[in-house]
């Protein structure tokens, strides 16, 4: 075995092989370098592309930022609007609460009023019941026993005594009539209204025909205009027309010829109106308001019998129909009574009762 050896060369390996190997390696490196350069070029290209993209992206980003800025402003504005709306809603809520409270108060008040009315209605009914049942009994006794007195003991009473007994009986009878009229008046204020279309002209003619039939010898000219129609309670309005026409007939009794006129009146608000006019004794207009009070009379009972509830009843009915009644007259020159009736069917209408 030789002691000498080429440094770096492994003993036993041919140096020519080395050289070859190194050459091979160098060739490989050169190839590698080319590849790397190519990659580098590609990378540079890509980077260039990136730069373009970046610029574009930056532009886009700016645009987006602008949009975001705008959006932010929008948002602030919207928030302001929202706050304003919320304020309004709160106000509305307050209003609604106020209205709710008012409604509750109103309902409470209506309940209390209704309770009051029901109580006073019950009282009125109890009162009416008592009047109807109790007030006539003593009159029956007064009249009954004074008549019995007249029959059984009339001889002993003498003429004056008999006259007194007769007065007692007549007065009781008048009072019985007054009680009945009062009860009728009370009934008118309680009666349910059943409104229906009524031909008032026809109703008036029928009443006048009855009056004339009861006094065929009286010379009377009665004109009733056609077509006075209204939605009213037929029975109650018959009472009104009867009272007005009876009065017209009664107070024109002294004339050579009775003249009665019933005519429709045009009203501004479209409600129905009519008047009843006579050529009777009339009255002083200064007392016109008194006429419609129960038991008020402007003429003596001897001259013109009556008890003073007719016109009070008429007013009761007309007012329950949401209407008005008034009078116009002069002493010796006849009287005119005007009636209006609300066309709206106002007043205490109980049509649902039908």
């Amino acid at each position: 075995m030789s002691a000498t050896a080429t440094p770096g060369v492994r003993p036993g390996v041919d140096p020519a092989d080395y050289a070859q190997a190194i050459t091979n390696m160098l060739e490989d490196l050169s190839l590698e370098r080319e590849r790397m350069q190519e990659s580098q070029r590609a990378t540079v290209n890509i980077l260039e592309d990136f730069a373009e993209d970046k610029a574009w992206l930056e532009k886009s980003q700016n645009a987006i930022l602008n949009i975001l800025d705008d959006a932010y402003e929008e948002k602030v504005q919207l928030q302001d609007n929202q706050k304003a709306l919320l304020n309004i809603l709160e106000d509305l809520e307050d209003e609604r609460e106020k209205i709710r409270r008012l409604n509750a108060e109103l309902e409470d008040r209506v309940r209390r009023r209704t309770g009051d009315l029901e109580r006073s209605n019950r009282k009125l009914e109890a009162f009416t019941y008592s009047v109807a049942h109790d007030l006539r009994a003593p009159l029956r006794a007064m009249c009954g026993f004074s008549e019995a007195l007249l029959e059984e003991y009339g001889e002993g009473l003498g003429e004056t005594g008999r006259g007194y007994a007769e007065r007692v009986c007549n007065a009781s009878r008048r009072m019985a009539t007054l009680i009945d009229d009062l009860l009728n008046l009370a009934r008118l204020s309680r009666a349910k209204l059943h409104r229906e279309p009524v031909d008032l002209s026809e109703l008036a003619r029928a009443i006048v025909a009855d009056l004339q039939a009861g006094e065929p010898e009286r010379r009377a000219v009665v004109e009733v205009e056609d077509g006075i129609n209204a939605r009213v309670d037929r029975g109650l309005f018959r009472t009104v027309l009867e009272n007005l026409l009876n009065n017209a007939w009664k107070f024109s009794a002294g004339r050579d010829e009775t003249r009665i006129e019933v005519r429709g009146v045009a009203t501004a608000d479209g409600s129905v109106g009519f008047f009843v006019r006579d050529n009777g004794v009339g009255f002083d207009s200064a007392y016109a308001d008194k006429l419609f009070q129960p038991f008020e009379r402007l003429h003596s009972g001897d001259e013109y019998p009556g008890n003073g509830v007719g016109l009070a009843s008429a007013r009761q009915v007309v007012e329950r129909h949401g209407g008005t009644i008034s009078a116009d007259a002069a002493v010796g020159r006849g009287a005119t009574f005007y009636v209006t009736i609300s066309s709206q069917g106002q007043g205490t209408d109980d049509r649902d009762e039908l």
């Binding site: 019941y129 109807a132 006539r136 003593p138 029956r140 009954g144 026993f145 019985a176 009934r187």
Partner: protein
């Protein structure tokens, strides 16, 4: 003429006296029994019904009465098998519509308002007496057991 009694249900002594006078003047001589309030009327009627005694030919019933009012008396008369057919005439001071309707609804046979003047009162009571005691055929004193329930009012 029917000789059964007349039952007058009346709390007012004046009206009681006037009715007696009117019956007398009308020559109606049937016995008149007077009940002075609703409770007494029911005792009289149901006492008679219980003893199978004769029911009155006619009952003249006032509406406003102490203790038990006239309408309640009428209701109980109509509710009881023994008395539900007996003739009852309401004879009262009121002609209020409610009273008239209530009376008929409870089965009154007639409704007459007491007139204020004695002449009219006599006329009314005499007419009632003549009709119910003479003309009218009253239901049998003892009402027989109903043969069939189909026509209970045609007996």
């Amino acid at each position: 003429m029917n000789d059964r009694s007349i039952l007058l249900v009346e709390d007012n002594p004046d009206d009681e006296e006037l009715t007696k006078m009117a019956l007398h003047k009308g020559k109606i001589t049937n016995e008149m029994v007077v009940a002075h309030d609703g409770a007494e009327a029911l005792d009289t009627i149901f006492g008679a019904a219980g003893e199978a005694a004769e029911l009155p030919a006619i009952t003249l019933l006032d509406l406003k009465l102490p203790k038990v009012d006239g309408l309640e008396v009428l209701r109980r008369i109509r509710a009881d098998e023994r008395t539900r057919l007996m003739p009852v005439v309401v004879l009262t001071g009121s002609k209020e519509q409610e009273d008239v309707i209530d009376s008929y609804q409870l089965g009154a046979n007639a409704y007459v308002r007491k007139p204020v003047t004695f002449a009219e009162f006599v006329h009314a009571v005499r007419t009632l007496g003549l009709f119910w005691l003479l003309l009218n055929e009253p239901p049998p004193a003892r009402q027989p057991a109903q043969p069939a329930a189909a026509h209970p009012t045609s007996a």
